[in-house]
């Protein structure tokens, strides 16, 4: 098969992976090296945009789409009737370098179907990363998606060459994993995550130590660098009946327990030739979008899962112990308390409407945390408000001077002058007020 044809097949097979991030690694460049490549500590660069507005920053491909497993949600499963292809190690290395030299990409995101065995596959992936790093001194970004059940030795090696490692959690519950991906094992997935976490933490410690001793007395011992951009995982949404509360609870666990840098949500895409175990339709993509917003609130805005997806008291214990609640979730609505996010409005606004009694918040006196809970005010907006109010007390319309949307924010705040918009807080159909704003009001927070 021609290289171009392989690329077509193996990029197509990789398109179900949500992540294309190249951020969060250590700062690196090729100044004193023999190759090319650099990374920034902050955001990765988006070199192109797909028609749906998503960023394309990495060469995201599968090493092969042959697979001996039969996960029913996956296009590459053994029983699927699709065209198969397999790259050689050198082909992947050269494509990465050639694309990088033209400034098309920030680096490589490599995953793979399983050929022969987990370790056989994982070893080839590690070889590719090693060749890029050692032979070509490539200093761009590398993300390796590790193969389930790969041995700790290979996971250990993988982290020496990759900026980021990931293992997919795949589904929100063990039971669903058993149903839909019978060869996968949630216990070993968790073990691998734990293993990565230990190594990543060890590496962090080593880098910290190095930074503190280097000024005084540089010891011979070099830093241990292991997956410096941490680990991430992906969860498929809508392939089973798990509700958003369950999904977010699991995410929270992954963030706290394994120090995941990101949990990616991937709305289940119906695939050709699908298994009968699966829903015929994908969930609304807006659900995935709301989950990302909720995830953001969990990580950066100090919200907890119960605030975002409140569950009526009598249902709560039941939900906590039971993994798959087989309830009808066809028409999710946050007000019915079924643990689903409201699809019409973003989760912060939805929370604020349910908790309107704690508003209005005074923008001249409220703390940063408090300001960040106001719908329409994000972290940057809140700090702008705080900076500006040091100079003089703010009036309601000063909000728009801080580049914030007054219409969305107005009902929830008070300032130096009278704020007639507060009257909306009294109205029963507060949500309708915001729905009316929506055509022009696209901001997420």
């Amino acid at each position: 098969m021609e290289l171009q044809q392989k690329l077509a097949v193996l990029a197509d097979a990789a398109k179900y992976d949500a992540s294309c991030a190249s951020s969060g690694s250590i700062k690196r460049n090729s100044k004193n090296g023999s190759g090319i490549g650099s990374t920034d500590q902050g955001m990765g660069i988006c070199h192109s945009y797909a028609p749906d507005g998503r960023c394309i920053s990495l060469l995201k491909i599968l090493l092969t789409n042959f697979c001996i497993y039969d996960c029913s949600y996956c296009i590459n499963r053994a029983s699927s009737q699709i065209e198969r292809a397999r790259f050689t190690e050198d082909e992947v290395v050269n494509l990465t370098l050639d694309f990088y030299k033209r400034n098309y990409i920030e680096g490589l995101f490599l995953s793979s179907g399983i050929i022969q065995s987990s370790d056989y596959t994982m070893e080839q992936m590690v070889n590719i990363a090693r060749t890029l790093r050692k032979k070509h001194d490539f200093r761009g970004y590398i993300h390796l998606k590790t193969i389930p059940d790969a041995s700790p030795e290979l996971l250990r090696l993988a982290g020496l060459y990759a900026d980021r490692l990931s293992i997919n959690i795949e589904l929100p519950s063990k039971k669903s994993l058993k149903n839909l991906a019978p060869e996968k094992n949630s216990v070993t997935i968790n073990q691998s995550m734990g293993f990565l976490k230990e190594n990543i933490n060890e590496s962090k410690e080593s880098r910290k130590k190095h930074a503190t001793i280097s000024n005084v007395n540089r010891t011979q011992k070099s830093k241990f660098i292991y997956s410096p951009a941490g680990q991430s995982t992906q969860m498929i949404v809508g392939a089973d009946s798990s509700n958003d509360a369950k999904i977010l609870t699991l995410s929270n666990k992954l963030y706290n327990g394994y120090q995941m840098r990101r949990v990616y949500y991937s709305a289940f895409s119906p695939i050709p030739d699908a298994s009968l175990n699966l829903p015929a339709k994908s969930p609304p993509l807006i659900r995935e979008h709301r989950l990302y917003q909720a995830d953001w609130l969990l990580r950066f805005y100090g919200f907890n899962v119960n605030e975002i997806t409140p569950i009526p008291k009598r249902l709560a214990p039941d939900m906590r112990h039971h993994n798959d609640v087989n309830q009808n979730i066809a028409t999710p609505d946050s007000h019915s308390g079924n643990g689903m996010l409201d699809l019409d409005i973003d989760p912060k606004l939805s929370w604020a409407i349910r908790n309107r009694d704690i508003f209005p918040v005074n923008i001249n006196t409220a703390s940063l945390e408090r300001l960040m809970r106001v719908p329409g005010i994000g972290a940057i907006g809140a700090s702008k408000i705080i900076k500006s109010r040091r100079i003089r007390p703010l009036r309601v319309h000063d909000i728009s001077r801080c580049n914030l949307s007054l219409k969305k924010i107005a009902p929830f705040i008070e300032a130096l002058d009278a704020n007639p918009a507060n009257k909306y807080l009294e109205q029963a159909n507060l949500k309708q007020y915001f729905l009316n704003l929506q055509p022009t009001q696209m901001a997420l927070f």
Binding site: Q4, A11, N29, I56, F99
Partner: protein, 260 residues
Amino acid sequence: MFTVQIRDFEHWRTTARELLQRDTCPSLIQWEVEHQQGLFGDMAESHFAADVVYQQVYVSAQFLSLIEQAACYRDDAKWSVFYRLAYRIAFQEKELLNDMTDPDVARLYTMCKRVSRDKHKMKAFVRFKKMGDGSRHGENHLSDDAAVSIGNQCVAEHLVPEGLAPESLAPEDLIIEQYVAWFEPTHLIVESLATFFTQRFSNMHFAILTPDCCMYWNTKEVCFGEGVQKPDKVHDKLEELWCEYYANIFNPARVKLKAM
């Protein structure tokens, strides 16, 4: 009112310092970019002869880094905005930069934002094409005239390691991979991105051509040349592979996301 001519940001900075030391009111100065050397106006000269009022003038490091960024902004009106801000910060309102509602402050932030966006765009969207790829059988071997002319220009002037005279190089003797990009930035950012590009592509011989200024890197030294006109398209066969990738990595099931 008198005119002060400046060459670039560094020159503006030293000039502005001298004017501030003499407590020169912003409304008296007209800033102009000097296109030829040595056109210093008499009026300005006489002003610099005035007595120094303040030995030291203080502005914050944050302010300096903001105006350094904003200095890439294409509009020359920026110089008087900078000076007015510097004057007010030094002598009147130390905390001025925190006042987002002040028109000069807002203008400074807008300039910075636009420059930073433009820089980001350039980092993302510069596309290198491989020139004379060194293999005698290479399909992309300085075939069309335009390629030859850009190629030769880069080669002759900048990209070839010292000691190799350009005339001694027939295209097939080029064993070095060379990359050329054409880009049209909105603002004057080429020089400010030299570090980024040379540290990212350290061991690659490349040229980035733009209408304002061109950057050349031979793996050791960076140099800048005059802007050039848009060259004709160069064909790089890797582009076909890239298009293949682009066409396949996108999941059409997701396209509705945009409609939200």
